[in-house]
């Protein structure tokens, strides 16, 4: 900051030829420097430049039927252009009287990771960079301390007899911290208990990712890559349609399947029957039976999120001895 320029700048501007040329040159240099700084933008993917239509698209909950039809048609066209497949894009609504709950039998899980890859295929996750909703933890026997879990076990055969396996995915919490923190309501809990994301509304701040105690949310750090022919054409707006870069995504209990009477892809592929899924409000469902009668627990009960994802174990096999007669009072040895 130069001293004493105050009065000098006070003088009426003189337009000399030299002054004009210098100022003109400086202005040209400035503009070209800014243009150079912005030059990488010419490589911007046209898909990333929001069209007027996409820019003005309403939040999912504010869309009327015609809006939805238009948006689904736009997605259909975009997928056709990008992947050369005509997809079946739908928006199945939550079913009345249904609350989905997952049960995972840790006595049976062998850690084969078939669920991980079936999920990637079903839900059109990016293959490069690789993005997965399910993380299978190889646990030390005698501990449920997650810090001793092995995330990247790579043995020729599973299960390792000294370990047990605990797959983790979105727990579809009843008190979801991710929903609470989202500044733009881009993620919310549906009446059937599934927490969904409007991928066209998410601003990519990743606050939900920081808030999730189960590390269940994933961010599209780069453009998602799905090889030709690998795209699952049966897709829903709130679940497995292709995602843009810069938005969050997560497990939706395969709502494109489960809301139309099918089972989640991770369950269907499981070779051991460790995965159980259903409507907990239906007292005759298998999942209701499991929760009522099995030894169930939820992960990190202390964080108060009330997960809809239960772990349980079989009574046979986890029992160390045959039943014995109950000890009579005063008869204890």
């Amino acid at each position: 900051m130069a001293s004493g320029d105050g009065s000098q700048s006070n003088a009426a501007p003189e337009l000399t030829r030299r002054g004009f040329l210098t100022k003109g040159a400086a202005a040209v240099a400035g503009v070209s420097a800014v243009a150079a700084a912005l030059s990488p933008l010419r490589h911007l993917d046209p898909d990333d430049v929001p069209s007027i239509e996409k820019f003005l698209q309403a939040h999912y909950k504010e869309m009327i039927t015609e809006d939805k039809e238009r948006v689904l048609a736009r997605i259909r066209k975009a997928v056709e252009r990008r992947h050369g497949v005509t997809p079946n894009v739908s928006d199945p609504p939550p079913l009345d009287g249904v609350e989905f709950v997952y049960g995972l039998n840790i006595s049976r899980c062998i850690g084969c990771r078939k669920c991980v890859h079936a999920c990637v295929q079903e839900n059109n996750q990016s293959r490069a960079p690789e993005l997965q909703y399910i993380r299978v933890l190889e646990m030390e026997k005698g501990s449920i301390d997650l810090e001793t879990a092995e995330h990247h076990y790579d043995s020729a055969q599973v299960p390792n007899p000294d370990k047990y396996y605990m797959p983790v995915q979105c727990h579809q919490c009843k008190e979801p911290p991710c929903v609470k923190v989202c500044p733009v309501e881009a993620t919310w809990q549906e009446p059937d208990g599934i927490t969904v994301i409007d991928y066209d509304w998410c601003i990519g701040c990743r606050y939900c990712e920081a808030a999730c105690p189960y590390w269940a949310r994933r961010f599209n750090f780069a453009k998602s890559e799905i090889p030709d022919g690998a795209l699952n054409p049966d897709m829903a707006y709130l679940s497995n349609r292709p995602r843009d870069k810069g938005v969050m995504e997560k497990c939706t209990y395969c709502l494109q399947r489960t809301r139309t009477g099918r089972l989640p892809a991770c369950l269907e592929v499981c070779p051991t029957g460790s995965r159980k899924f259903g409507n907990v409000l239906d007292p005759d469902s298998e999942i209701a039976y499991i929760i009522k009668h099995k030894r169930v627990y939820v992960l990190k009960e202390d964080v108060g999120t009330l997960p809809r994802f239960f772990y349980y174990f079989d009574e046979r096999g986890s029992r160390y001895h045959e039943p014995i007669a109950p000890v009579e009072q005063g008869d204890a040895t």
């Binding site: 130069a2 700048s9 939040h59 993380r135 911290p177 601003i203 920081a210 453009k223």
Partner: protein
């Protein structure tokens, strides 16, 4: 309105006038800002994959700088409180530099949040569906923008009055000054609550974070202003008394002691309890299972803060040389401690116990440098313009030979 436009035009012209040192400084800052813009343009094309962030460590240098700068902005209150509440006249003539700093720094904060967004193009979704009061991020949006407007109004009004040769009307700015004091505390508290409220991140889930934030802000902020005021004094004719600097020294002194005390409380609670809670703190201070990227940083920061505290306690730090050294140490020490030292460890290990370390990329660093350069550029212009205007050297009357509105 016409007067106001002339005012803005004169400010614009003034910002280009200076000696060669001024032009060199501005050219260097502009260059860095443009390089940052270039790196950001690349980030827009390729996505946040150009940064070192991952699903495991999903916030990094951007949010770390953001957090630190919110504190710097809040520290303007440490100039305002002595002047307007305790009637400290030493600081009276320099209080506006604190407020101008707050404006420039909040702009930097907003930029740091923007570059961290995956979809900055959907920014306006904040206006359509604002998850208030549930999401602490929405509180922060209100707190930061409100603080920006308050300080813009106060500074803008005072400088504009000086330009018009009018005496500022108290009713137009004193109430805002008092609101801004409370607001300054709130911006940093709300920013702390952003982290504190997450039950899944034990490292942040501690009530002491907000007080620690304020203590460190009130140390680093006035320290920054001590240095700035000396630069203003050196390169302009604005009078900054030594007493003003020494008053600020008192503030830094006390804030630094409280900051170190709170740090000790935090460290004790974590390590003496030694529960599963301690993993992140262990990673930060001692390393965890062979991962120790942050260990040298945090100990450098602690050493800097301790030395600075020691220096500030000595009467010798009344000499400006030593005071400046102590200030630089606290500014850098707190930047490390509150930036990387607060944000990154909360993500290591992940909630599922995975250990992934975070190292910022060159891209990320360039974007950060660009934003810092831009902030300094804006602040330099503010100071460059406000000094002659407040001194009555550039006024409407001098330009047109008649008072404004006549």
């Amino acid at each position: 309105m016409k007067t106001y436009c002339t005012f803005l035009w004169d400010c614009f012209r003034l910002s280009f006038v200076g000696d060669w040192r001024y032009h060199l400084w501005m050219t260097v800052l502009t260059t860095f800002a443009l390089v940052g813009l270039y790196a950001y343009a690349q980030q827009l094309v390729h996505g946040l994959v150009t940064t070192g962030m991952t699903d495991q460590v999903s916030w990094g240098l951007y949010i770390a700088n953001f957090t630190y700068l919110v504190g710097l902005a809040a520290a303007a209150a440490m100039l305002v409180i002595p002047v307007y509440i305790y009637r400290n006249m030493h600081l009276h003539d320099v209080v506006i530099f604190g407020e101008l700093l707050a404006v420039a720094v909040i702009l930097m904060c907003l930029l740091f949040v923007t570059v961290d967004l995956g979809r900055p193009d959907r920014f306006m979704h904040l206006f359509w569906r604002f998850n208030f009061p549930m999401s602490m991020l929405t509180w922060d949006v209100i707190a930061l923008n409100g603080y920006l407007l308050l300080n813009l109004h106060i500074c803008g009004y005072l400088i504009y009055c000086a330009y018009c040769g009018r005496k500022p009307s108290k009713a137009f700015y004193i109430p805002f000054v008092f609101i801004a004091i409370v607001w300054a505390i709130s911006i940093h508290t709300v920013t702390a609550f952003l982290y504190v409220g997450l039950g899944g991140r034990p490292f942040w889930n501690s009530a002491i974070i907000a007080p620690r934030f304020l203590a460190s802000a009130f140390a680093a902020g006035p320290a920054f202003i001590i240095i700035t005021l000396q630069i203003v004094r050196r390169f302009s004719r604005h009078v900054v008394s030594d007493d003003a600097l020494l008053t600020l020294r008192h503030i830094v002194q006390v804030a630094m002691i409280i900051n170190m005390f709170l740090l000790a409380c935090e460290v004790f609670t974590e390590f003496y309890t030694d529960s599963a809670h301690v993993a992140s703190a262990h990673y930060l201070y001692l390393g965890l299972h062979g991962h120790n990227a942050l260990v040298p940083w945090i100990w450098t920061a602690i050493a800097m803060n301790l030395i600075a505290t020691g220096m500030l306690l000595l009467p010798a730090s009344r000499s400006l040389g030593l005071l400046n050294a102590a200030c630089v140490l606290s500014i850098v020490g707190i930047w490390i401690e509150k930036g990387m030292g607060l944000i990154v460890p909360a993500f290591v290990p992940t909630p599922l116990g995975e250990l992934v370390e975070y190292v910022p990329t060159v891209h990320e660093v360039l974007v950060c440098l660009g934003i810092w350069a831009f902030g300094l550029l804006v602040y330099t212009i503010f100071v460059r313009v406000s000094v002659p205007v407040l001194a009555g050297e550039v006024t409407y009357a001098k330009r047109f030979g008649r008072p404004a509105g006549a």
